[in-house]
């Protein structure tokens, strides 16, 4: 079946602009995660959605970052007033449930470059 998809694949923006990154999880998966991969920081957790529960936003680096998940499916990560340090690959993952044994399946990522 279809895996996790993300769009756009690449995004180049100017410092100070807002960007939106989209994630379509595997159909039927109730848990959705955003991570960021950068050269200096490695792979970092950003935010976690599970069903109708309040999201875990503990990994968001600043209040410029926010995410929504509409209808329990598609998620959008928004970065306001982008900075050069936001340049990274943003990875989305989903799992069939929120249990700790569940495997997270990753999308191909969105490569963000802030000029």
């Amino acid at each position: 079946g279809a895996g996790v998809s993300q769009s756009p694949s690449n995004k180049v923006t100017e410092k100070g602009k807002d960007v939106e990154l989209r994630c379509d999880p595997i159909s039927g998966h109730t848990a959705l995660y955003w991570y960021r991969q950068s050269l200096g920081q490695g792979l970092e957790f950003l935010i976690y959605f599970q069903g109708n529960s309040a999201p875990d936003k503990s990994g968001l680096p600043s209040d410029r970052f926010s995410a929504e998940r509409t209808g329990g499916s598609v998620s959008t990560l928004t970065i306001q007033r982008t900075q050069q340090e936001d340049s990274a690959v943003y990875l989305c993952a989903s799992s069939s449930g929120g249990g700790y044994q569940e495997t997270q399946y990753f999308g191909p990522g969105t490569r963000l470059l802030v000029l």
Binding site: Y35, G42, Q104
Partner: protein
Amino acid sequence: AQSVAQPEDQVNVAEGNPLTVKCTYSVSGNPYLFWYVQYPNRGLQFLLKYITGDNLVKGSYGFEAEFNKSQTSFHLKKPSALVSDSALYFCAVRRPGGNTGKLIFGQGTTLQVKP
């Protein structure tokens, strides 16, 4: 605090030889451990996981990993390396409890398999 260490930035091995990519973890309680592989410009692909039971876990593409509780290690192994195994490998841990299923990743190890 939870953490994962991959002590080698790069591992070089000749095709046909056995390979080992090392991972150690620090977490309170019983850990759930994962290995992922990342090919250039791609997302992370799941290889295998340890949840409970047999300490030797077999996964995709002929990879296996051994959980060693006393040494807090979860090294990835393959009996005979292929050139196509060359990629970036990540070890990750989750700790049961709390309200998040986030993965904590190691810094990654680049595996180079030479013909």
